[in-house]
Symmetry: C2
Subunit: 167 residues, 2 copies
C-alpha cells in the first residue's frame, strides 16, 4: 500500500500545468523575498533533518546532490553554530548520525514561521472567495508536499540501516 492517495482516479495528465506554473511563480516569489541568512544547502539540510530525523553523512550527500566531503564541512559548520550535532551510530562505529539540536529545530521552525507569516499577510489581502478557494485546496497542497517527500525519500526510513541498502 504505497499509495493511499490514489483511491480515486487520478486527474487527466497535464491538466494541472497552469496551476503548476502559478505554484512555481509563488515559489520563486517567496524565495526572492525570504531572508538569505544561510545557504540553500544549509537550509535544505536543516529541513531534511527536521523532517526525516538523523541522517548519515553519505545519505545527506546523495540526497543533496553534493560530494561527501562537502557535507562533512557543512555539518561541521552547522555543528559550530549549534544547529546540528554528530551522534555516534550505534550500529556502525565508522558512521555518524547528524541530528538537529534543540536550537536547530527552533531555527527551522522560526524560519518556517517567517515564511508563513509572510504568506498569511498576502492571503489575508485576498477577497473572501479566493481565500476560501485556497482553504478548500489545503488538502491538495498538503498531499502534493507529502507526495514529493515520499518520492524523495524513496527508501522509507534508514535509521535502522544494516549496511546493505546502498543502491
Amino acid at each position: 500500500m504505497l499509495d493511499g492517495v490514489s483511491d480515486q482516479p487520478p486527474a487527466e495528465p497535464a491538466e494541472g500545468s497552469d496551476v503548476a506554473l502559478a505554484l512555481y511563480s509563488l515559489v520563486a516569489m517567496v524565495v526572492g523575498i525570504m531572508p538569505r541568512d544561510i545557504s540553500l544547502t544549509m537550509a535544505t539540510t536543516l529541513n531534511l533533518l527536521e523532517r526525516a530525523g538523523p541522517q548519515r553523512i553519505t545519505h545527506l550527500a546523495t540526497r543533496l546532490g553534493v560530494a561527501q566531503p562537502s557535507v562533512t564541512s557543512l555539518v561541521s559548520k552547522l555543528e559550530h553554530e549549534g544547529l546540528a550535532e554528530r551522534r555516534a551510530d550505534p550500529t556502525d562505529a565508522r558512521g555518524v548520525l547528524v541530528a538537529l539540536t534543540a536550537a536547530g529545530r527552533r531555527y527551522v521552525r522560526d524560519r518556517r514561521q517567517v515564511g508563513a507569516d509572510l504568506l498569511v499577510e498576502l492571503i489575508d489581502g485576498l477577497p473572501a472567495d479566493q481565500a476560501r478557494s485556497l482553504r478548500a485546496a489545503l488538502p491538495a497542497l498538503e498531499a502534493v508536499v507529502a507526495l514529493a517527500h515520499r518520492r524523495a525519500d524513496g527508501t522509507d526510513r534508514l535509521t535502522t540501516s544494516v549496511g546493505e541498502a546502498q543502491r
Copy 2:
C-alpha cells in the same frame, strides 16, 4: 489583473495560517528539489529582470538587499555567461540598465519550466477531487503572487535591511 483583487471584502485576519504553512512547506520542498546550478541571488536577479524589465544597478542592489559592488560583479558574471547585458541609460550617462539577453530570457523560462514540470507530475498524482480544488484555487494563487509583486515593486528593500550584518 491588478484591480480585480480588492473588489470584495478581505477575509478575516489569520484565517489563512494553515494554508500559509502548507504553501511554505511546498516552497521549501520545491527549493530542495530544484537544481542548484546558479546562486540564489543570480536566480532572483534573473527573475526580477524578466518580470520587471531592465533595472539600474543601484535599484537591483536595494532590491536584492546586497551592496552595490556585489551587484556589479554579479552583473559582470551574468554578462560573461551571456544571460544579461549592460545598456546605456538614455536618461543618465552615469548609470547602466541591466537587461536580460535572449539567452537569459530563455534560461529563466527553461528553469521555470523545470519547476512547473516537476509540480505537474505531482499534481497529476492527486485524486481528482483534490486536483479540482487546486484548479479552483488558481485565481487565488495568481492573486497572491501578483499582490506580493505589487508590494515588492512599491516599496524599496523589503527583505533585510541593507546595512544589517548577517552571519
